[in-house]
Amino acid sequence: MEAKAHKHPNYVLVGIVLIVLTILEVSVISLPVPQLPFLLGFAIAKALLILMYFMHLKFDSRLYAVLFAYPWPLALLLVGMLIWVYFGFRA
């Protein structure tokens, strides 16, 4: 069977880290610092922790990771196109 050879990670610790990152996220918006880089960094860190440990991409077949990564370039293209269209119309 798949993905059963590995010992269980400390899921509670991962959860605590995720909650600490959320507290940092909420705290940073009241600080006089550029918010976007910090918020993006915290959100990406949280997403990676969920994907790697809770969704087991760190331990499972890489095929799942490839499948999940496949639409991201299209999603980013969509983001770029919409922003381009939006600013194009405003200009």
């Binding site: 993006l40 915290f42 969920i50 969704m55 799942y64 969509l78």
Partner: protein, 193 residues
């Protein structure tokens, strides 16, 4: 084992049911990316009615974030206990996950009622439409997840064995993805308002 067909691999087999869920989640990435980008483009084009900065507060969404993150821990503990052969603990963690999902939905309903009371309706302006579309579709996914988890917990109680852990794993993948989407929504809608 006839119901699922492992695809050949040197080290780790690939379960067709998990493969199907991952393909579905990949399509959901495009769906939610479209919704979130639409929100980003539209939310600050308000000419009348409440803006994001005026209407949104952080208290309920922050509590909801904690609830969903905690529910993800409960979900993954359900799978870990099932794999360790402890079916009763697995069911208890599944029910905890479902209960936390219901708490999320209740708080979401409270938040919506506050918005409606303050005049932020789906049709008041383009921000209202975008906000209710993004968060509403996410809440609908949470509701589907709760029903799915409860049905798996019921199945586990009746007939499932630790050998069928892939059923818990697939609902877990869906649930964690819903959590993942909320991480993005929380940042884009509530923190970057």
């Amino acid at each position: 084992m006839a119901s699922h067909h492992p695809v050949a691999s040197a080290e780790i087999a690939v379960d067709s049911r998990k493969l199907g869920v991952w393909v579905f989640l990949a399509s959901e990435v495009i769906f939610f990316a479209s919704l979130i980008v639409s929100y980003l483009v539209l939310h600050n084009r308000v000419t009348s009615g409440p803006t994001a900065h005026e209407a949104l507060t952080l208290t309920i969404p922050t509590i909801n974030t904690m609830i969903l993150l905690t529910s993800s821990v409960a979900m993954v503990l359900a799978l870990a206990h099932l794999r360790d052969g402890n079916r009763r603990a697995s069911i208890a963690w599944l029910l905890t996950t479902a209960w936390l999902g219901i708490c999320f939905l209740i708080l979401k309903a409270v938040e919506y009622s506050q918005h409606l009371h303050e005049g932020l309706t789906p049709s008041v302006n383009v921000f209202g439409s975008a906000y209710y579309t993004v968060t509403g579709f996410h809440a609908a996914h949470v509701a589907v997840g709760v029903i799915w988890i409860l049905s798996v917990a019921l199945g586990l109680r009746r007939r499932l064995s630790p050998q069928n852990d892939v059923l818990v794993e697939t609902v877990g993948l869906y649930w964690h993805f819903v959590d993942l989407v909320w991480v993005a929504i929380f940042m884009v809608v509530y923190l970057l308002r």
